[in-house]
Subunit: 303 residues, 2 copies
């Protein structure tokens, strides 16, 4: 199968489809020229609900078995939330590394939760087997055009900026944002050095498997970049890597200086700025996408 | 001395004065018709910096001894932040009930901290004695026209709404908001039943002393409404009382449903809605002012 990237038009269609179901999350200029898009306030606590709604709404009529997903947590929460909102059954497969707060959240949204596999890829394999058995609609965490287009709707809500910093796991968000902006702003793709899916793909000329570890693993822990993402972003984004220490420092600073509660993945984009992995020019207007807030708040103050 | 209330004009002048120093905090529509003004993202973690900047900037030239304030915490943080920003010395008197996170924050902002007295009124008395000795400019936590006018600038940043819900301690914020709105929206003044400064003042026809207790005490724990507030809001606001349980429930819900980290005072306005103390009409557009986020995040999930 030949896979192509997604376009701004696909993102605009997604925005029309999902607008009645998502929150338009706020943007705040925390310092002159530094803006945060506070997507942790989204339903389900992250941007993932955008892609989940778009995939479900684009796939009607749905099978009787409902929807199925594998997820480190945020995608699962999003699918569970979207399914409940639309009155559809949801079955969510999560790897054992998923944060307890996310598993509890899945159950609170009424999903059937299956905990299996030590990493995301194993949970995904189990979910796909199950989907083949039941006929449920699979909602991939990132590698489906409807998912990436849904995630990209976040970029249609941004004010004018020179640069948008976005964290990368499997690449759904960065693909959607890159397609939506379509050259209107520079996209800086930020990854933990311990989960360099995009960086490795760009180096190899195609998505390749990487090791997954570190503080970003529960939300950014894909072991390979999606094909949709690769086809959408190759040649169009700047890839930077950051340390786990930089992520921890940025998350702590977000609480201390702004009283924003975020998960590690939500602090990754800011970490690129604070650590100097990405250095804006004087006067450059930079948007940091704070992509999720599903964290144990007890850990905010001490990092 | 005859004290009069403040006007919208005073608030507009304050906005001009402080605009280069404060963050324009975001508003998010979390449910249809329900909007949050996220003032916890303000410098110092609460709205208080608005009044502090306005009082200092309106009082130039400043005495060599700098500024002095008594505070349950948020006002002190705000004065310390504003003083540091403007290069002025700040001495802050706090009662023993102040949250440890706030005292640490005061010191981080470079203020000289004096912990004295079991309640706010005692810290205030000590601060006023000290100001008389040193000639420092006193910045009252609420009962000065410049302070109330500064707090009111928050209301100039709100979208159109039918109703604005605002928590009341000593009344600086509710006075500023009422003056700023000047009839453009209904103001609902929300107080813990265990600290009913406004409710008691309206019943008595003048500010009267009340007992101070409960979860709101560290941020809303004034023992008497300010004269400025009384003259500004009497006859112009709807006063409602809420239980501590309602505040605790609302704070927990704000984290669970919106991933907003707030202190108890910051959840009080929403508590009036969730507990039914204030019931909007169908279609009524309601803004809840989330006035502060200086809390121990470890307590967010369990309330």
């Amino acid at each position: 199968m030949h896979i192509t990237g997604i376009t701004r038009n696909a993102v605009e269609l997604a925005a029309d489809r999902i607008s009645g179901y998502i929150r338009r999350t706020p943007v705040v200029e925390v310092e002159p020229g530094l803006l945060f898009k506070l997507e942790g306030l989204q339903h389900g606590g992250s941007f993932k609900v955008r892609g989940a709604f778009n995939r479900i709404l684009a796939s009607a009529p749905l099978p009787a078995a409902g929807v199925i997903a594998a997820s480190g947590g945020n995608h699962g929460l999003a699918v569970a939330y979207a399914a409940r909102t639309l009155g559809v059954r949801a079955e969510i497969f999560v790897p054992e590394v998923a944060a307890p707060v996310k598993i509890a959240g899945l159950r609170a949204f009424g999903a059937d939760v299956v905990i299996t596999g030590s990493i995301y890829a194993e949970a995904l394999e189990a979910a796909q087997k199950r989907a083949a058995d039941t006929g449920a609609l699979e909602i991939h965490a990132y590698d489906q055009p409807e998912v990436a287009a849904g995630q990209g709707t976040i970029a249609l809500e941004l004010p004018e900026a020179d640069t948008v910093l976005v964290a990368v796991g499997g690449g759904g968000l960065v693909a959607g944002v890159t397609a939506a902006l379509d050259g209107r702003a520079r996209v800086v793709a930020v990854e933990p050095a311990r989960i360099p899916t995009l960086n490795a793909a760009l180096a190899a000329g195609r998505p390749v498997r990487v090791e997954v570890s570190g503080v970003g693993a529960d939300a950014l822990g894909a072991s390979i970049l999606g094909e949709v993402a690769y086809q959408t972003v190759a040649g169009k984004v700047e890839s930077v890597l950051i340390t786990d220490d930089a992520i921890i420092e940025a998350r702590r600073a977000m609480w201390r200086d702004y009283r924003i509660a975020t998960e590690y993945a939500g602090a990754a984009a800011l970490a690129a700025l604070r650590s100097g992995a990405y250095v804006p020019s004087p006067g450059e207007r930079v948007v940091v996408i704070v992509c999720g807030a599903n964290t144990d708040p007890a850990t905010l103050a001490d990092g």
